[in-house]
Amino acid sequence: MELVKTTKSGALQRGFRIGKLGFGLVGSYLGYQAQNLLLSESGKAQRRERFQKRAGQRVSEELGALKGAVMKVGQLLSMQTRVFPEEALRELAALQMHAPGMHATMARAQFKASMGKFPEDVFREFDPEPFAAASLGQVHRAITKKGEKVAVKIQYPAIRAAIENDFKVVRSATFAGQLTGYLPTAGIDEVQRGIMEETDYVNEAKNLKYFREQFEHIEWVTVPRVYEEFSSDRTLTMSFVEGRTLGAFLETKPSQRLRDLLGARLFELFDIQTCELKTLHADPHPGNYLFRPDGRIGMIDFGCVKRFDADWREMQRFYENRGWRKSEADARRFLKIICGPNAPYEKARKILPDVEEWLELFHPRGSGDIFFGRKRDPAEEKRMWAAWHRCGRRIFQNKWMNPEYAFLSRADMGLCYLLEQLGAVVNVSEIARRVEADYKTSKAIAS
């Protein structure tokens, strides 16, 4: 709340008041984030320090208490790496797995509300204490009457109504943005649709089945099985997946070899999804994977699955060969992918130097192959993000953005960040070539 008081500008203050009205306790935090974007560099550093000292621990507590859309916004923010201070990022990463949630009495009552029976009537054992928080609910351990270990995800009650309310606030607070077209109403609709879809566990069960089938042939990945008889649209019972979350896994001090192996596998999964299946299981954030010392990976949280048409393989080639340099036709094609079909070529071309600069640092070319997860020195990193933001700003200001590209490149950077956190160095070009060849062969056999 004090953060709000320190703001001097009238317009900003009004903005925060609106924010506070809608977001309650979280007002100061989201307010800070908005404020941070608008402040000058020097003021930013100062405020960041103050924020870190004061708000540190409180953030996830307060964000977590609110659930719904606000929590989702928190998770999205946490993926925008580097834009937010390291301290806040750590807080938000914690939020992904450990949000304060329903107490035992509430979880039991909500299970009854969604399944018509109390958990003790359905399972042989049911742990009243959750072991993980999902963005819209929490997960409990249980043992079925047949003795199978399961994870029961229970949704916070009436979350749909809460999200609809939150979006009303979001819509009214961003009215100006919608009018000017910087924040297209269709974009907000899309986000809302996505989040609403995520609240429907029947949909998540469908996604789980799909990925279980698609990854059946890969023995080192585990996708949980759905127990339909113990599931509804607000309760999801799945087979229990063993493994540690990224933070806990790193605490076990895994060897570099294991880290590289897991990193390569993470990229392989990502590459199959983006290039072959054209279906991506959520943003690659650390909370969606479980790691095991034998190199196996568990995938969890299939609420937010995106399907798309974009040819990401083509994009990879552009990145690898700097394809736009070859001819004007190639450059036109490349810019169309990034900026969408409405961007005039002559104008859009101006982003190319920034793209080159960013790419030289993000996907540096050594042997021609691209490596993810390499350590960069801080000055380089700063330059890289500056180029990225210049590029983004130009696209944003001209209202060009191709949404599929925006989504995929964010996922790409998310994975890159995940590999960095894991401390794995991965030759992604090599893996991409292997996956492409594998799928070509299997498609040829199938046809």
């Binding site: 208490a65 329903m102 107490h103 035992a104 009495t105 509430m106 009552a109 909500q110 009854k112 509300a113 969604s114 018509g116 009243p128 916070y156 009650p157 009436a158 979350i159 109504a161 809460a162 607000r234």
Partner: protein
């Protein structure tokens, strides 16, 4: 002017002693009646749950409880009396349940209070129609069912004492600042409000009531903690 803490602290007890004495003076006959009353209520509730409140006749109740229709009126003059007795029984049930529930001992105050109301709603669930039918009348101050009526005072106050005990415990271990009798009274009214919401809740499994209950209790304990002591 609002009374100071000392006064509010004894008020529930003072009222309780008085109403309790009144009840005792009514004599043993009242207590003997208790068993018959319970039998009638049991029969009536079974019928309400099976056939619905409106379709159930006094004749059917008398038949099921094996008590002559004329005698029935000696025990319960009106439907309100039946409802009053029903609520009293349910509140006693909640108190007994809470005392027997060991797991809740370690829960925080918000969960304890949540559990109490949720358990009450769980008990009331099969009789929703019946409760809905008599509920609006209960809000009238002249009704016997009103929380302020003399007829309901004794058990009502017993329930408030029970709530206050829980609040005192939370005050004792520093969970909340002292709230005095005010806390118990406020909880009583809050429970009434939740019950009203519950009766009108159309969401599946009445999950909106769960969410409301949870949010209100979290907010209340949050403000109590941050606000420090109540300054009357």
């Amino acid at each position: 002017m609002l009374p100071d803490n000392e006064h509010t602290h004894i008020s529930i007890d003072v009222f309780y002693e008085r109403t309790h004495l009144l009840k005792m003076k009514q004599g043993r006959r009242v207590q003997k009646k208790e068993k018959t009353k319970q039998a009638i209520l049991k029969a009536a509730l079974e019928l309400f749950a099976a056939k619905g409140f409106y379709a159930t006749t006094t004749k059917a109740i008398s038949k099921k409880s094996r008590i002559a229709e004329g005698t029935l009126f000696n025990y319960f003059e009106t439907k309100e009396d039946l409802a009053l007795y029903f609520f009293e029984e349910e509140l006693s049930g909640v108190m007994e349940w809470h005392r027997a529930n060991k797991r809740l001992n370690n829960a925080d105050i918000a969960e304890k209070l949540f559990a109490i109301i949720q358990h009450l709603l769980e008990r009331l669930e099969p009789y929703e129609e019946f409760i809905g039918a008599v509920y609006m009348r209960a809000l009238s101050p002249t009704s016997k069912l009103s929380p302020f009526s003399l007829d309901s005072q004794e058990r009502h106050l017993r329930y408030l004492r029970f709530i206050r005990e829980i609040l005192l415990e939370a005050e004792g271990n520093g969970e909340i600042p002292p709230v005095g009798d005010f806390g118990a009274y406020a909880f009583g009214l809050f429970q009434l409000a939740i019950l009203t919401h519950w009766l009108r809740d159309q969401s599946r499994g009445k999950e909106e009531t769960l969410a409301l209950l949870d949010r209100c209790l979290k907010m209340a304990t949050h403000f109590l903690r941050k606000g420090g002591e109540w300054n009357w």
